[in-house]
């Protein structure tokens, strides 16, 4: 098992994070920046979930190890592996990252909405959502506000 196979998920997470970061840094458009931020956030979610995956595991919904489903899962795995890492005869993936990311996703969309609402208000005040044009508009406004010499 080579290094790239065991760390592939993390490489993808870093690539997605870079894509999000690049959008946030390079784009002047406020809405595009919010999309970049969403991408960035999603890469964090991917990282957590990748971390919580256990080889041969199943979703963290308690199963009966003697039931049909539990037996079918156990049949695919080495009994010693199940004995060491399983809980009551079934190997589960780690539920903790799932809990954290589940709430983070819903909070993420709520904060995304706040960011987009700010962009809408910026557009109403400045007539644009491009940060360069916003700078230009506020510069002109500042010059007009100065008393003529």
């Amino acid at each position: 098992m080579s290094w790239i196979a065991t760390h592939f998920n993390y490489v993808v997470v870093v690539i997605l994070m870079m894509a999000g970061l690049f959008i946030v840094f390079s784009s002047g458009n406020l809405i595009k920046r919010m999309i970049g931020l969403a991408l960035f956030q999603s890469s964090t979610a991917l990282f957590y979930i990748s971390f919580g995956k256990v080889s041969g595991g199943t979703a963290a919904i308690t199963l009966d190890a003697q039931g049909a489903e539990g037996q079918a899962l156990a049949a695919q795995l080495d009994p010693a592996y199940v004995a060491q890492f399983g809980v009551e005869g079934v190997v589960y993936s780690n539920p903790l990252p799932h809990v954290l990311i589940l709430t983070a996703i819903v909070v993420g969309v709520a904060t995304l909405a706040v960011g987009l609402a700010i962009a809408v208000r910026v557009r109403e005040s400045y007539g644009t959502v491009e940060s360069d044009e916003i700078d230009a508009v506020s510069r002109v406004a500042a010059e007009q506000a100065e008393p003529a010499p």
């Binding site: 065991t6 760390h7 592939f8 993808v12 690539i15 997605l16 994070m17 870079m18 894509a19 970061l21 690049f22 784009s27 002047g28 458009n29 809405i31 595009k32 999309i35 970049g36 991408l39 999603s42 979610a45 991917l46 979930i49 971390f51 995956k53 080889s55 595991g57 979703a59 963290a60 919904i61 308690t62 080495d78 890492f85 809980v87 190997v91 589960y92 993936s93 539920p95 903790l96 990252p97 809990v99 589940l102 709430t103 996703i105 819903v106 909070v107 969309v109 709520a110 995304l112 909405a113 706040v114 987009l116 609402a117 809408v120 208000r121 557009r123 644009t128 959502v129 491009e130 360069d132």
Partner: protein
């Protein structure tokens, strides 16, 4: 003891992650914001599929509803109110951000080599707290879905915080964009036309079904994948579908913006109220074992839920049910309020344009 041979699902994992990378690259390239938003929607759907492969059905559920549903609608509302295309950025201004992102990425990849292998059951993350929850959840709480048990009970205080954050976002959007349509003028007639008969009939059939499904997800949450967050978003999607097809006026007549706001706040009150009741009954904040007094617990018939011989944690059961209800109320009302904010703003803008 080494991990078992990489499963067949690893191939699926790789394929889906590569699709995510392609989609992210397309989002970076495109200048059209509409295309970027729709690509993000597809991205969410693919990552929901990936989450299923990663044994995270609860998260997959949330990602599919939130990412492909609500956030797409909100972002579309935002570009409707701003503009649909980003200005072209010259390549010179992309050099420094590119280098910076590359530098951060390079450092992270360098740091990553110290991480445990993918799927390692003995990694620190998987062998302490997470495993402890798996071992004790059934004994302490009795809910088969460990994710719900951790979300609602072990980390109930954390979830209360998240719910308050969602309420704060609701208040923020409502304050910035208004609470719904304030325009006195009717939206321009003829734009929707009468071509949407098929859509209207389908929507009329679907809205109650979606709400029914939301209730199923809500009350099935401690047995299988689901819970208040997912159910809240699904219920909100039903209302938003109604608003998109029948117009905002019809929907606000059924669910006034004031009611949505009140329900959003009430959800947090229900959640925190459960905690207070626990304190009053002699436990800690959100300590559901003290939610029901022994007298009330004695009144519950033994066979109410399945096997009468099996001990039930009634306090935990009703506690999680109640706080999930609070989460449902806050999340659904917040999503509806956010939608009302963006959609009402659009109607206001159209009306102002007509008045001019």
């Amino acid at each position: 003891m080494t991990a078992p041979v990489l499963e067949a699902s690893f191939a699926l994992n790789v394929a889906l992650l590569l699709m995510l990378v392609v989609l992210a690259a397309a989002v970076v390239w495109t200048r059209s914001l509409l295309a970027a938003i729709l690509l993000m929607s597809v991205y969410s759907l693919v990552s929901a599929t990936w989450l299923m492969v990663m044994d995270a059905p609860d998260v997959a559920f949330t990602e599919a509803v939130v990412g492909a549903g609500i956030s797409t609608i909100v972002a579309l509302g935002a570009i409707l109110l701003t503009r649909g295309e980003a200005v072209r950025v010259s390549w010179k201004r992309q050099v420094v951000p590119g280098l910076l992102a590359g530098l951060v990425g390079g450092l992270l990849i360098y740091a990553m080599s110290g991480l445990p292998d993918f799927g390692d059951p003995a990694s620190p993350a998987n062998s302490h707290v997470g495993r402890a929850y798996l071992e004790t959840a059934k004994r302490d709480i009795g809910a088969p879905n460990v994710v719900t048990a951790v979300l609602g009970s072990y980390r109930g205080f954390d979830t209360l915080g998240e719910t308050v954050v969602i309420l704060a976002a609701c208040i923020g959007v409502a304050l910035m964009l208004g609470f719904g349509p304030r325009a006195t003028l009717a939206p321009p007639a003829g734009a929707p036309g009468d071509h949407h008969v098929v859509l209207r009939v389908t929507a009329k059939m679907l809205v109650p079904l979606i709400i029914l499904f939301a209730l199923y997800v809500q009350f099935h949450g401690d047995l299988g994948a689901g819970g208040g967050f997912q159910a809240g978003v699904i219920a909100a999607v039903a209302i938003i579908l109604h608003a998109l097809v029948f117009g905002l006026r019809e929907t606000t007549a059924a669910i006034p913006p004031q009611a949505a706001r009140a329900v959003a706040a009430l959800g947090v009150v229900v959640y925190a109220g459960v905690g207070i009741v626990c304190i009053v009954n002699g436990g800690g904040f959100l300590d559901y074992d003290h939610l029901l007094t022994p007298q009330i617990e004695a009144m519950i018939p033994a066979g109410l839920l399945g096997d009468p011989d099996k001990p039930h944690h009634w306090g935990q059961y009703f506690g999680i049910l109640a706080i999930e209800l609070g989460v449902l109320m806050t999340v659904s009302a917040t999503m509806i309020t956010i939608f009302y904010g963006f959609a009402g703003r659009t109607i206001d803008a159209i009306a102002a344009e007509l008045r001019r």
